[in-house]
Symmetry: C2
Subunit: 241 residues, 2 copies
Amino acid sequence: MDAHRKDTRSSDIPGLCRACEARHRGVCGALSASQLVSLNKISTRKLIGSGAELIGENQETNSYANIISGVVKLTKMMADGRQQIVGLQFAPDFLGRPFRMDSGITADAATDVNVCSFPKAVLERMIKETPELEHKLLEQTLKELDEARDWMLTLGRKTASEKVASFMYLIATHSNPEADPDSARFQLPLTRSDIADFLGLTIETVSRQLTRLRKDNVVHISNNRHVEVPDLSALAERAAL
Amino acid sequence: MDAHRKDTRSSDIPGLCRACEARHRGVCGALSASQLVSLNKISTRKLIGSGAELIGENQETNSYANIISGVVKLTKMMADGRQQIVGLQFAPDFLGRPFRMDSGITADAATDVNVCSFPKAVLERMIKETPELEHKLLEQTLKELDEARDWMLTLGRKTASEKVASFMYLIATHSNPEADPDSARFQLPLTRSDIADFLGLTIETVSRQLTRLRKDNVVHISNNRHVEVPDLSALAERAAL
DNA sequence: CGTTGACTTGATGCATCTCAAATTAGGTGG
DNA sequence: CCACCTAATTTGAGATGCATCAAGTCAACG
């Protein structure tokens, strides 16, 4: 199905890239086979353990990455310790801020995360050569901007129970590989504490609203993390969507 | 000072563009003099009255614009009428969503607004010719994303009084043409109702917090709209910045 | 079996919302 | 300039949703 794209016979594509989502839906889709080869030579796969820091004040500021699997949380923190999760990223999202680095955001692995990492300089050179790459970055950035603004509505104007339902709906629709648009079944990628930081609530309020959703049979939760949503539209209703 | 940029002797630049901020700090900075000329031929200056809709469900979906002066508010609305302002835009920001139009956002003039408007198709053709233009758009989008995420922290984790102080600080720093970094004096571009929608609060709470700031001499307000901030750092303190 | 960390549940307080009324600003016509 | 009108803002009193503080439960693990 990629036959129409110049220079991309699958035999030329590096093995690691062949199965990678980033080549289809992510930024690597803008690259030719030869570019993939040269990028692949210097890129490294890494497994980041849950909780580890990917981008922060201190380390690893001179490389970009694509998420292969797992969930990454972007967090902002105030001087007194209050914090807010300002975004969640899933495969095959691009990780890292082009042409800047000091937006006061840290990126942590919410679950175990596999990334494909490569030096900043190499990608920035490719951007100059391939305008299509910058276009992909613009598209992802616009998508993130839309998501951020959606969430601003949630943070500013929804009640606690709508917020929790909105979160469950977000995760359900993002971890739904099956085509079933009516129901979902997934593992929560975030702890209660993370959920609270994402929703601007406390742990206790999140917990209470979750038990309410459970008692009303909108969701079924086992082992604190495994979730089943029998009827997504009922959940959307609770989320005021 | 533009001498090093190819093709931009000021005599070639259209008169209307010469004084325009968008040519310096906005997207038009990516265009050559000849491109400015051709864009200028088909672009129109418009004065949008305070409160009028610039982009919405209904009208004017096939043109982009640059803000020449004034403030534009981007609003999201829920089915039941609750609404949240998800962004404010000032000169020389670019207005309009490239390659998409359905993000459920409406753009209204918060004050009287002057825009320089041009057809969607023309700009999109120029983007294909001039990668630098797409780079400018990416830069603005990244800036908006940073601002959106900053505001998410405000919405999710700050108290009402911190929120109001944050808003006043935001406006003060955006309408501060004088170089004075310590004090500011400006007209509020938003009504109390707009401020409430921006901060996720009610009108009444905004009003109460403003009178508190006034009583504590952090700000002086006359005629409901004219504001003086004698000490910006005191305001920043209140904003928990 | 005790310990630890994540989560739930309960009781209380407070910040913000809601409802209602008073005050002020801005415009319009006399 | 004044009298009036309307919309915007302020102020007050009371209700409530969420936070806070404090136990209690549960599962994982040594």
